[in-house]
């Protein structure tokens, strides 16, 4: 492996932390969802790094399924954003304080 596996893990950890910060701090729903995608990419990096380190293809197969589930989650999440925008145009995350309105 061209770099020690610890470097790949450190990169994955840093990217995951950036995704967590983006999810917790941003006020726009779509940017929160994108931060989830950053976190999922970080996990995929870690999976691919270990797959290479242990010479086992399972890590890459799991990363493939993570990408598929991320696509499904993006679809449903953005469908929710569209429905939200239709009922309450311009709503930010801070405005969503009630379960039903």
């Amino acid at each position: 492996m061209i770099v020690p596996v610890g470097v790949v893990l450190a990169l994955s950890g840093v990217l995951f932390g950036i995704g967590v910060f983006g999810f917790l701090a941003r006020r726009n729903i779509i940017l929160m969802l994108i931060s989830v995608e950053i976190m999922l990419n970080a996990v995929n990096l870690s999976l691919a790094g270990f797959s290479r380190h242990l010479d086992n293809p399972r890590g890459q197969i799991l990363a493939l399924f993570v990408i598929a589930v991320a696509a499904a989650e993006a679809g449903v999440g953005l469908g929710l954003v569209i429905a939200l925008n239709r009922n309450k145009p311009g709503a930010g995350v801070a405005d969503l304080t009630q379960l039903k309105w």
């Binding site: 950036i18 983006g22 701090a25 691919a48 399924f65 679809g75 449903v76 569209i82």
Partner: protein
């Protein structure tokens, strides 16, 4: 992949993906954030290539950068973009978020350095070789054989998940009759 510049290229991709992610979560304009996310996806695909995950790199570009990101951009166009830009980017609690994120990363790092330092990593995880001749790691034939062999059930379940997501997105986003 052991050509001489591989290490330098890896460190460039790593640095570029971290910088892209940091810029993506801090931009005022949401469209600029999306473009930095595109840069992140591309550099992560490059790292996959360097880690012998060629099929994963291709899927990353096609699905993540080519479908998911475009989908996000479509929905972003529904927003009132000048209004979004005028509002503050972060909630008032953002230092708490930064400290929390850094704490999580530090905790994860401390939790794994114990196991990585031990020399038992390779022994306990010898993969069960299915065939006498194993295809190269990350090659298309290897991934395809795995997806139609040992991982056939998760493969079918993934298609079910995608079907459920499609139906859910259509139901959520359509206009209800009479509303």
């Amino acid at each position: 992949m052991t050509f001489p510049a591989a290490q330098a290229i890896f460190y460039y991709m790593a640095a570029a993906s971290v910088v892209s992610a940091m810029l993506a979560v801090t931009r005022k304009n949401p469209v600029h954030s999306m473009l930095w996310i595109l840069s992140l996806f591309m550099h992560v695909a490059g790292i996959f290539l360097l880690l012998s995950a060629e099929f994963l790199a291709a899927v990353q570009i096609i699905v993540y950068a080519g479908a998911i990101l475009i989908f996000y951009l479509f929905v972003l166009m529904l927003l009132d973009l000048p209004g979004e830009e005028a509002r503050p980017r972060f909630g008032r609690h953002w230092p708490v978020a930064a400290v929390g994120a850094m704490g999580l990363v530090v905790l994860a790092w401390l939790a794994q350095i114990q196991t990585l330092d031990s020399t038992q990593v390779g022994v306990a995880s010898a993969p069960p070789h299915v065939a006498a001749e194993d295809p190269a790691l990350g090659s298309l034939s290897g991934v395809g054989t795995a997806l139609f062999g040992p991982f056939a059930l998760p493969f079918e379940m993934a298609s079910l998940i995608l079907l459920a997501a499609i139906v859910g997105a259509v139901v959520l986003a359509r206009r209800k009759a009479g509303s």
